[in-house]
Assembly symmetry: C2
Homo-oligomer: 406 residues x 2
């Protein structure tokens, strides 16, 4: 008998009929002899509806109250699933963040999980019940309701699986697994049977939207096997797991892209110690995430500093950086939001040389200019003009032979 | 400086604009130098919407899960009011049942309050904040969310006022106080400035819908002054309080009616000990509330037993009673759902004779037949044909000189 954690997203619980479908899947897993813990998101659109209500109430609604407000979304879906499971003749019980408890810090709207209690859920499982847990929410040490940020239900599910030492954490979504690239761009994109935590993490950070990066970090830390599956079919699925000696190391596992990129260049900055920090620090103080940062070699005591941010942050980032640029004596600030990031990811890169060269040549061959490059052990990202996004993805996918054999 | 508990019902918090109006009233009370604890209901219609969702999920939805589901209604309104109060520049914090905590028994959907914690709310008040508390909900000793039953927010408010030893508990509704009778029936109905707990209790039980009877019981037990006021005007209000020696004892304070009545008569029952219990007990086992019970004098060892129930329960009650009637050898069961109950209420009745006689004469003079009579120290109720309801209320209101002087 295995202990299975299953997480269903907003589109899987969008109305009573869909919740009843989830109930059937849960019951099937239970009847196969497993203990089942189900983690749910809010009905699709509900979190946004509640946030709009808060926005209507105040321009900058209080974060503590927002969290208490939006946490009702998951409270409703877990109650409804428990009602349906019981009506179908099964023992079941819903658990909210404070009832599990999922203890978090008090960073409202983006709280981090500190500890997950297991006693109450284990008791329900021991009595033959199905535990239905509200994702996305927790409780801080002062009994305030907190939420984990967008996509937080993935993190809830993995944290529960880790705490309960579950055998697997199934993440049900509207796709049936992780693909070598976006099937909407490459018709021959191939579903991966397995992928390592590190590859999944880089893919998630590089723009693949299947799993929230934090949930993958957590799965890696506690070695939780995560399976990405479809809510609508029983076929397929991709297992996200640690690197296995038997596992064939793909040189490149996938190609991702991220159009949510904007590039800011501070031109002709005096190259003194601490200048880069003075330019970048105020951004993180305003919660603007800086993705890639590149500094040219210094020429006659001056340099150019280029970095990328999310497009939604471009106005605020430009305003902040322009102020500092003036202070430090830079020549000017240039912005370009007509860019995209294309990345190749694979654990095999570590031991294969020539992967970067092949990527650059492939892009050059199509006349695609590379504006920025950043690399990690298992990832190479290039910033290119936005109009080349699909072309770059397609040629890279072909060049590394990632497609289905036809 | 006084400590004021204010409760606002569903129509007062029906949308963001109305909640903003509540915020203004709350702030005014705060700026007058008072500590303020606000208790809110869900937006009007929201509790029904959630119950319908539960009903769509299962014919008999699990009560524990229903309570967790419907408690989101108040969770939303208290968060929104706290957001608005803070945006208006005031310190404020919302409290859910488990955060206060409002400890209850585990009778889901009709839980009773056992104890109300005061520490968290006092701390907020001491720091100059406004405490915004979700009505209707509590938490049992196993951390399950419970609800107090329909109108439970009145009870929440009074229980909080009692625990915090508040100076007054203001109940804001869509009427500006308690009237001598329904102003829709008697145009000259008069608003009462004061009424005793006992009178209010009898009026609530006899059909007046201003306050939930349980909240009045609680107010009486802990001697909490309750003021019924309008959300829309600052005028008027009725103070519900204990009997005061200086208070002029009204012989009759008000006339009420209740159309939600149905009459069941078990004809020609063998008059043996325990027969009445055998007929009535199964009804309470099915949660059917029996209001008035009358047994005729025994004639030749047989009697007729007549009682009233809520109209919604008439089918089930008839089915249950018919079975038992057969077993005990009664002749037949007759039902009549074309009846109403008309009552007069007043603490002065105790010391005034002739009140009952005047009531019966007044009804007889209009040709209204009295089918059943029941009395308490401060109330006389008569069951009459439903079509005479308005007439009976009007003539009694006049007979006891309750109207405005014109």
């Amino acid at each position: 008998m295995a202990l299975v954690v299953q997480k269903y997203g907003g589109t899987s619980v969008g109305n009573i009929e869909k919740i009843a479908n989830v109930a059937k899947k849960v019951i099937r897993t239970k009847e196969e002899g497993n203990d089942v813990v189900v983690v749910l998101s809010a009905m699709s659109g509900e979190t946004d509806r509640l946030l709009q209500l808060a926005q209507k109430a105040a321009d900058e609604p209080d974060p503590r109250e927002c969290d208490s407000l939006v946490s009702t979304g998951e409270q409703i879906t877990v109650a409804l699933l428990a009602i349906i499971l019981k009506a179908m003749g099964h023992r079941a019980k819903s658990f909210l963040g404070f009832q599990v408890p999922v203890n978090t810090d008090n960073a409202f709207k983006k709280a981090r999980i500190l500890e997950v209690g297991t006693e109450a859920i284990r008791k329900e499982l021991q009595q033959g019940g199905i535990a239905v847990v509200a994702g996305f929410q927790g409780v801080d040490e002062e009994n305030n309701i907190t939420t984990l940020g967008r996509g937080g239900s993935d993190t809830s599910a993995v944290a529960l699986a880790a705490a309960l030492q579950a055998d697997v954490c199934d993440i049900y979504t509207d796709v049936d697994g992780v693909y070598t690239t976006d099937p909407n761009i490459c018709g021959n994109a191939r579903r991966l049977d397995r992928i390592t935590y590190d590859e999944m993490l880089e893919m998630a950070r590089a723009g693949a939207k299947v799993l929230q990066p934090r949930s993958v970090e957590l799965a890696k830390k506690y070695n939780v096997p995560v399976c990405v599956r479809s809510s609508f079919t029983d076929e397929g699925g991709t297992l996200v797991t640690r690197e296995d000696k038997d596992m064939e190391k793909e040189v490149v596992a996938g190609v991702t892209y991220d159009r949510d990129q904007a590039k800011i260049t501070v031109v002709h900055v005096p190259d003194r110690p601490g200048v880069a920090a003075r330019l970048i620090t105020p951004l993180s103080e305003h919660n603007i995430v800086v993705d890639m940062i590149i500094q040219n070699a210094s020429i006659l005591g001056h340099t150019d500093l280029t970095f990328t941010v999310s497009r939604k942050d471009i106005r605020e980032a430009t305003r902040i950086v322009s102020e500092v640029a003036k202070e430090v004596g830079a020549e000017k600030v240039e912005i370009d939001d007509n860019v995209a990031k294309v990345s190749i990811i694979g654990v095999g890169m570590i031991s294969h040389s020539g992967v970067a060269a092949k990527m650059f040549e492939t892009l050059a061959h199509e006349g695609i200019n590379i504006m920025m490059i950043s690399t990690s052990e298992i990832k190479i990202s290039c910033v290119v003009e936005a109009k080349y996004t699909e072309l770059a993805v397609t040629v890279l996918h072909d060049a590394f032979c990632l497609g289905e054999e036809s």
